[in-house]
Symmetry: D2
Subunit: 269 residues, 4 copies
């Protein structure tokens, strides 16, 4: 693997700062919010609830990469406005996915972190374009990407000048289909070994089942993830996207409390 900038040899540790939040340091960072932004009300409610429960960053998709063109595709710029507003109201940085290099300037007005989704992990035009910007980029692992390919994709971003990359493990595709994907938690210590970027885990896509999100999250904290990205919805049954893997406010609050407890416990080791 030829990594000049993404490899551990070149740097000990990258801590990405967004507002008052540090990703990659000692603090456990929780990113939470709905899979898709559906309305201003939904987002404001969710932002308040997850903030109160301890989440530091708000997520919400405005451009949704959906397998079928007939599925809900997101609210676009209108959704980003809601996201930006909800973030400001609650003093939370916000993250949203970018799918098209032509949208970057527009998204730049609303988001604090650009998310590159799994389907676009090797969309090199997009990687280069966010690499030219200054805002942090969260690069999700591709569904069938090896660790090596993932880090090589990160190299594309860093090579353009932007050093604030956050990696996100979200499950890989295997023969097992009880879960939506197979969450590869070993990616966490491996990424820490091979690179200097923060590594967070997405237990929502990683499992695809709401009842497994808490278990996956606990394991992710115990294995040393710098953070988690969790889908939360005021009413998962009515969600326009991925409701089956979203937590409601109550479950999220309970989980969040547990995660900080486990994180603290690790200091005893």
């Amino acid at each position: 693997m030829k990594l000049k900038l993404a490899g551990r040899e070149c740097k000990e540790k990258t801590i990405v700062k967004v507002g008052n939040v540090e990703i990659g340091g000692d603090e456990l960072v929780i990113i939470a919010g709905p899979c898709a932004i559906e309305s201003e009300k939904q987002l404001i409610e969710t932002a308040m609830a997850v903030k109160k429960a301890g989440a530091q960053i708000l997520r919400g998709g405005a451009f949704k990469p959906r397998t079928s063109p007939y599925s809900f595709q997101g609210l676009g710029e209108e959704g980003l406005k809601y996201l930006h507003h909800a973030g400001q109201e609650n003093n939370m940085p916000v993250i949203s996915e970018v799918m098209d290099p032509r949208d970057i300037d527009m998204l730049d007005k609303y988001v604090d972190i650009f998310q590159i989704g799994s389907r676009n992990m090797q969309n090199y035009s997009l990687l280069r374009e966010v690499g030219k910007g200054r805002k942090p980029v969260m690069l999700k692992r591709g569904m069938s990407a090896s660790i090596e390919e993932w880090l090589s994709a990160a190299e594309y971003i860093v090579l353009e000048g932007n050093r604030d990359v956050i990696l996100c493990e979200r499950g890989i595709r295997t023969f097992e289909n009880y879960t939506r994907n197979t969450l590869d938690l070993m990616a966490v210590p491996i990424i820490k070994q091979l690179s200097h970027f923060p590594i967070i885990v997405d237990p929502s896509h990683g499992t695809g089942r709401e009842e497994l999100v808490a278990s996956a999250s606990r394991a992710a904290v115990a294995i040393g993830a710098h953070g988690l990205m969790i889908e939360v919805h005021p009413c998962p049954c009515d969600a326009l996207s991925d409701g089956v893997q979203s937590l409601d406010f109550e479950k999220f609050q309970s989980l969040s409390k547990d995660l900080f407890t486990i994180r603290n416990c690790l200091d005893l080791l």
Copy 2:
């Protein structure tokens, strides 16, 4: 699977016409050429050799999606000029990969078929953009895409108005690593069953090994593929990309002859 336009229910058969070539009809179509365009000389020589051996369409990559940013990335527009010229000189339609929606207008001047590569199979911005055009689109299967996801990606293109989609099986990612990918030849009859698009096979990426390309190609013809896309290079050892899976002129000529023989033999069944 919700397919309104890509499904077999909506149409019996799509035959894509490019110049004098029909893809999806009775004739076996062979697309050949180098993985990456390296020079005008390389391309002209290759075009003449593959044309003489029976290939009807010329391929050549000008924008190369490479795992590492330090690998050869292609000659860009300069390469497309060579491709266009070589195609015209030999009366062959040409195909090349597009990676960025912003490049489409430029490529449109030079290519007869747009190729969407495996890494971009779910790059929906790109799919929509080629879907708005009039030139045929060859959509390669993603490395870990199910047949269903692949056809749903085709639906994105057709939904924008462009009905000339050609599907290309190029191997999927599995645990077996003797070959670069595992060529899923069963995709050929399955695609014919579920959709109306022509289906071709790429034995070069599908195996990743020059010595297996002939075997894979024979099987692809026997299973009913409408065509093949084969990497050919004047001197595979010196190739800047994928030399290990490229045929030289002599091997390609010999293979091509065999493939037409097998194709003819199928008429006896």
Copy 3:
């Protein structure tokens, strides 16, 4: 890969002789019969039909490795008697699966070829035991076995003295679940390259869908398989095991004719 006896370096070509049939030579060998032996009548009828259609060897399972203990487990020794009898009546060698080293002596009275199933590819006690015998062994590839592991399993057999090993590709497990398994046809040329054993293909398990068996079989012949093993049942809808992937007599006869035509065509290349 450390292969002393199974590797190509040690021998050019193994031709396995069973009765008048040579497996691994120029002739295309077709093994056909029901997944599970259900009754004497079923077997006799099937034997006559497949013999007439050109099959040289009769298959039938008496000990069935089923995922669930509540599925039909086979008729045991009674079934083997039917198999033996049907083989003798039609002058066909017979093959059946052995699952337990303690059953080998008993099976030895009835079968001409021992089959080791996918689930037992690395059941080393069983491999060693059939390796001590004199009858040919057909070793099916494990569901997630690499080519290397498969050949190493063959080495276990040969090391005990029995050199008559036949390898059978039957599909590997991947993320794609439209088919029961992903038939890895490239295994055929690879096995020919790396070892000296005959290699046959099982399109029935390889696809798990009756409507794909013909396509898979054609491709297998074109890629150079020495033979095929195909599930045939007088009335697939009533089969106690794997009916969904079994051909009826008429379809088998039509397919068999096509396969010999394609085989002959290969001599033209």
Copy 4:
């Protein structure tokens, strides 16, 4: 999935008792020892060290299922005598793998728990045979077994009368080859949801890399595994089998301490 005896509907919880140890209860159970028994000295030393560090059960392989017949195959009955002796000296129950139904009576004299290895997860003769016995059986997940197939394999055991089954997740085979297998930790909560058996994790085979064993183990405890099975060797570099994934005494002691700390922490949630 048709589970009459292995499913959660039929029983709330199985606690397997071996000597003074309860597997499946509140206590975290650590099984430790060498991959292969190599000598009496090796085993005695290891037993004392892991006992002191908190392990409750001693493991050691006497019959080793190795991919190549030329790899060390284990000491056989001699090794079992060492294991039995080391267990008695240290008041630890012992576990060892059985590969052949004909060996069960012999092993029964020496071991307290029978281990069924991954390669034999669907060796139904072997499953039935250990199912007829009274000693607990630890059933490792097959390399490409779905959760459903794994539980169905357990059903084979229980159906014969033996209800003391322990399941062990040890990684599945995927495209990712940085690790030897992909440890599917989500199997832990899923097994708890679908069945009543204790579920333990093998981080040694699950990762195949000594430097990842600690991370994997921490996550396994946090996700709720009832126990762990960890390979420990006095001198991993000299191990005859799997040295690259074995911990030395010091590392094991440090890890063990951490694991009990995390386990205690879970009581705070």
